[in-house]
């Protein structure tokens, strides 16, 4: 082990008292500050972060689209593969038009909270710039979420455009009606907080490791498999299906895709969205706990 990764304040490192800074941010603005009119209402700060994030992704369009290619080639491969497999008839209750819809919905879901949030966070934690984020009187997690919302506006948009192109190439898909359409809409929006909390919590691991790539790969691998983005959960053997149903990943692709396909009964559909919502809330607080643990490890190099 080298010394530069363990927090040793004596050797030119500054230990930032994180908890003090967070207290300022999480309290209601102006409630305890003497110069209360110096504070802006935090929601405006968060909104500014969202719109700055959106502008930055518009400015770096080329990078964004190149990064999107990985996901796009993945869904393209899956579309051709399943078209061939299902040409001879439905499998596990999935016909070709249904599988097409399933893959396209999970593609959009998989595009939300892409590399933008995590690589930026990882880089700032590793080079110590996170210390500057900490001096701002806003909550770190909410600030990152606000940025993720800004990115997501663009991600939902490009995802939808790519789906429309795919529909032109591969032909149409069934469309849900009534209650299921509504539940699908709620579910695809819930993908955002759910994926955000997972990505956020894994990016925090940079407080422990210098190399984020491995963590990113591991998370992508597990998420792609267990969310049903590669193959719908009913294709798995019983025990793996059970595991998938018990974990939060299903809400990141499988739930919205199945709602879109009208594959659940009304009761199960409502239940699926509630499970997704419950996981979103649980992971949000889990991520907050992870932040409290991680920020204690912060080492900032002097220089």
């Amino acid at each position: 082990m080298t010394g530069d990764r363990t927090p040793v304040p004596a050797h030119g490192s500054v230990h930032v008292p994180v908890t003090g800074l967070r207290a300022t941010g999480s309290n209601a603005p102006g409630s305890n500050a003497p110069g209360s009119n110096a504070y802006r209402p935090p929601w405006r700060a968060y909104r500014a972060l969202s719109s700055t994030a959106l502008k930055s992704v518009l400015a770096y369009r080329f990078q964004f689209f190149m990064a999107l290619m990985g996901n796009t080639f993945l869904v393209l491969t899956m579309l051709y593969l399943w078209r061939t497999i299902l040409a001879s008839g439905a499998q596990a209750g999935f016909s070709w038009p249904q599988m097409k819809a399933y893959l396209l919905v999970s593609f959009v879901a998989n595009t939300i909270v892409s590399g933008l949030t995590e690589w930026r966070m990882a880089a700032r934690i590793r080079d110590g710039m996170v210390a500057i984020d900490l001096t701002k009187p806003i909550d770190y997690q909410r600030a990152r979420f606000a940025e993720a919302v800004g990115f997501a506006a663009f991600e939902y948009f490009t995802g939808t455009v790519l789906v429309l192109i795919a529909l032109l190439v591969f032909g149409g898909v069934p469309v849900p009606h009534g209650l299921h359409l509504l539940l699908f809409a709620v579910s695809i929006v819930l993908v955002l907080p759910l994926r955000f909390s997972l990505v956020y919590a894994t990016a925090l691991l940079c407080f422990w490791t210098q190399n984020y790539m491995g963590i990113n790969w591991a998370r992508l691998a597990i998420t792609n498999l267990m969310s049903g983005a590669l193959v719908p959960l009913p294709f798995f053997p019983g025990w793996l299906q059970l595991l998938g149903k018990a974990l939060p990943f299903q809400g990141m692709a499988y739930t919205p895709a199945m709602l879109y396909l009208d594959r659940f009964s009304n009761r199960d559909a409502v239940l699926a969205v509630l499970v997704q919502l419950a996981w979103s809330i649980a992971l949000w607080f889990g991520a907050a706990a992870a932040w409290r643990a991680a920020s204690r490890r912060l080492t900032v190099h002097g220089g």
């Binding site: 082990m1 990078q63 990064a67 499998q91 190399n211 992508l220 498999l225």
Partner: protein, 269 residues
Amino acid sequence: MDWVRHLRRNVFLYRRGLGAHIRSTMEYEADFWVLIFASVLMQVVGLVFLWAVFRRIPDINGWAYWDIVMIYAMVFFAEGIGSLFFEGTWRLAWLVNQGELDRYLVRPFSPVLQVMSGEVGVNGLGNIVLGTILIATAAGHVDVRWTLGRVLLAAVLLASAVVIKLSINLATNASAFWLASPFSTFAFAMHSLGDLARYPITIYSLGIRALITAAIPFAFISFFPAAAILHRGPTWWIGLLTPAVAAYCLFVATAIFRRGLRRYDSAGA
């Protein structure tokens, strides 16, 4: 015998370059294990996916489960060699953008070799080990008689496939000389295009087949050599061209790198 001395010197310097990076990587032992674990996990997930699909169907266009495992394993192996010994290629964008390539140009050692040995991807170790195990396992399960000739053919085609993978990495990363971006996003996008060739390419439309066969020959890293080794499909013989494609790719990639290097004018101070 001048070229022998030349070659020995290059190999010596290359090994010294990699050795230094291996030592610096091993300073971060936790990262080492995280990377190995993650790369193996990624490949295992790919296999679980295949297995889940093949629980339902006997074959995809005449390719059985172990045939496709063989294709996968060849890709793992080629990518593993690329990561472990030639990872520096992926840093080219950064070197060009920051003007750090200057340092390489004043040293009496081939710039392209310096670039390629400029980093070690320890994750390659996991891929090589897993790839080798899977190639051996798949070889025992596929419906093929392993004569000495076929084993030799497999070795030659696998080596050629590795050369093609390395050449594509070099060529796509050399785009940095033109794009001037500090990140190798373009090369990564092309790298993920290669994932299409992990399946029998007969499933794709003609345009995509042409793209991954002729334009960027990813299909010669995995599908075609596997088809030739396993004797699958009416066009299995195309795989026999893999060594020629490898020579061509190596030539084109180094030519692109040289052209790019001529454009290189360092970074503004």
